[in-house]
Amino acid sequence: MAAAPNDALVSPSEARRAALERGYSAEAARRAAALAAGSPPPEAWTRLLTLAAGGVGAGLLASALVTFFAANWDHMGRVARLGVLELALVAAALVAARWFGRLAARLALNLGFVAVGALLAVFGQTYQTGADPWELFLGWAALGAPWVLVAGADELWLLLTLVLGFGLARLLDVRSHDDLALSALASWAVGALAIGLWEAQARRPRPWLRARWLPRAWASLAGAALCVAFVVGLYDRDSRAFWFAAAAVVASLAGAARAYWRRTIELFMQTVMMGVLIVAATSLLIRALADVSDTRGDLELFVITVFVILETAGAAVWLRGEARRARGGVA
């Protein structure tokens, strides 16, 4: 494998290895590792501090807006309640149009998306529409989608899917009489669909979204939801979701194998799927042992201990092999 290219972003251990592969002495390689953990240059600090102060400041202003409403709720007329929020939406749109492509526009579009949700909530409370929260969240997702499309910002896509997932989960919760497994499955479905669409757009010559943290965040959330659905479906005798959850586990494994094992190697996604597999297999074993056992349980606990150790070891061996494969076989 060739040494790291000059523009490759490196961690301390990668910097040390790259230095050795380029013929530097051991002392220079250690120094390279230390430099990789050194403070960013002042201009990078400027970028980071601007982003941090701007992001937290915009978030606090959004909170102030919501709190202001709560404080003055009883004293405000309908026109004032809705008018202030609509003004905030217009202001966000104007700022976004004026400084489009810059941080200010991105923050304004984030604020605008939140204001859409607040506007729907205020509308629902003012006119007492009798709507269930799932209608609010699905409406928010639908009306907020244009803001997300215009912004093309990763964090807004995450927020949109969270709103959509919560709305769908709540809808299923109401329709299925509090079946937690079905609600969790709805969240998984939104996450899985989002990952699929993200991967499809990433193969375009000019993808809209590039940051890999976004599908990873979806995978973590969808994986956790799938584990909840599987375990609850397995142990809750009133739940109808177990076979759906089992099918979802199989579908997720097949999809992940195709996208992140055959087509490309994405260690994070593989690790998430390994986690889901371990949770599913362990809970199946525990359920099977609980069904057949009538003893005090020490043998069963020992079997489960050994099983989890073997699963963990197997996952570690396989993931190490994948990490090696990702590096082109050198390890």
């Binding site: 600090w45 501090l49 102060a53 404080a71 690790t271 489960i304 201990t305 963990t312 990490a323 050198v330």
Partner: protein, 366 residues
């Protein structure tokens, strides 16, 4: 952001050249990947979670097996499991005679034994001491610190350091110290800051950082301790025996700590004396604690964010930001003021931060 959190090799090579280093050979052989490249943090989280889970099952198994004589058995069996586990953890990574699966299996089993052994030992001492007193706390602190020192395996070090942090709080509580959690928060914060600030020195000395899991664990334990002060959910009106949640002492101490970190950053960057606006911004860090009474988590998380950016540690940064957002929400929830005053405070701070962002970006323009 990722470009700011990771340097390119070209940037590092330029620094090496400036310091007088040059390649000694034209074409060196490919180097084996470091352990943290083959087992990145998320894989370690999975393996650590598996080890922790299996240790609980093992503990349960032994608890059921020796239920009638737990007091005597646990005190004897616990240390045996810990010693056996540590020996395997030390020997297995370098063993070339074992196949990879056997080696990983031995490591996973050793982790489970080490963790279950620590738990058994503490339970045994506690049973013998009648459930109270300083003995079980000291036993917990002793056995966890011993594992941190003796076992170089990263997951064992991380989990045992977390255990040692909890045991430290237990010891202080058993000693009847007032402001237990203030002392714990400040000690953990100071320990985490010291380890993170000295990371480049350790890397320059050895090329790898074997104390990195301890540094991560101290940061996690530090932020988790500050959760007790949030008054949200399970932490509402938090008290552990007579010890109250971190309070005023922590907010003042952590504010000063954040200032010390900012000064250390400027010193490492050799920025010289600060301009008046910069000095005001740094001083504001010290006031962040007193300005947010009852929420030392806010200034603590800000300090960890600074540390993470300073040491280019993306995982620590993600962790600190998650805690920061939670602490912000908790602070709002716990604020004893009318909604109008809350809205005014949030608006003023938000506008000030946005103004700060604009000012920073304007000053940076050529």
């Amino acid at each position: 952001v990722s470009a700011a959190l990771r340097p390119t090799f070209g940037e590092i090579e330029a620094r090496l050249a400036a310091e007088g280093f040059a390649p000694e050979t034209a074409d060196a052989a490919p180097e084996p990947a470091a352990e943290d490249e083959l087992m990145p943090w998320f894989t370690r989280v999975l393996v650590g979670a598996g080890a922790w889970l299996s240790s609980l099952f093992l503990f349960g198994c032994l608890g059921v097996l020796f239920a009638s004589s737990l007091e005597h058995t646990a005190i004897g069996l616990g240390p045996v499991l810990v010693v056996a586990g540590v020996l395997v953890l030390r020997a297995a990574p370098g063993s070339s005679s074992l196949g990879l699966f056997l080696r990983q299996g031995a490591l996973a089993a050793a982790l489970a034994c080490t963790l279950a052994g620590q738990l058994l030992f503490v339970v045994g001492v506690s049973e013998r001491a009648g459930g109270g007193g300083a003995a079980p706390a000291l036993a917990a602190l002793g056995v966890t610190v011993a594992v941190v020192v003796a076992a170089p395996e990263p997951i064992a070090r991380f989990l045992s350091t977390c255990g040692a942090a909890a045991a430290f709080a237990w010891v202080l509580d058993a000693a009847g110290l007032s402001h237990t959690f203030d002392v714990v928060a400040l000690a953990l914060g100071a320990g985490a800051a010291a380890l993170w600030l000295a990371r480049p020195a350790r890397l320059a000395r050895r090329g790898e950082d074997t104390l990195s899991p301890v540094a991560y664990a101290l940061a996690v334990a530090f932020l988790s301790t500050l959760l007790f002060a949030t008054g949200v959910g399970p932490f509402e009106d938090f008290h552990w025996h007579d010890a109250a949640a971190p309070g005023r002492l922590s907010t003042i101490g952590l504010g000063l700590g954040a200032v010390a970190i900012a000064v250390a950053i400027r010193r490492e960057l050799r920025l010289g004396a600060p301009t008046p606006p910069t000095a005001v911004a740094i001083a504001a860090l010290a006031l962040l604690g007193p300005a947010t009474p009852g929420s030392p988590g806010l200034v603590g998380a800000v300090a960890v964010v600074l540390l993470a950016l300073h040491r280019r540690a993306p995982v620590l940064l993600g962790l600190a930001l998650a805690f920061l957002f939670f602490f912000l929400g908790a602070f709002y929830y716990a604020m004893t003021a009318t909604l109008l005053v809350k809205a005014a405070r949030l608006g003023v701070v938000g506008a000030a931060l946005l103004g700060g962002a604009v000012a920073i970006s304007r000053r940076a323009r050529p």
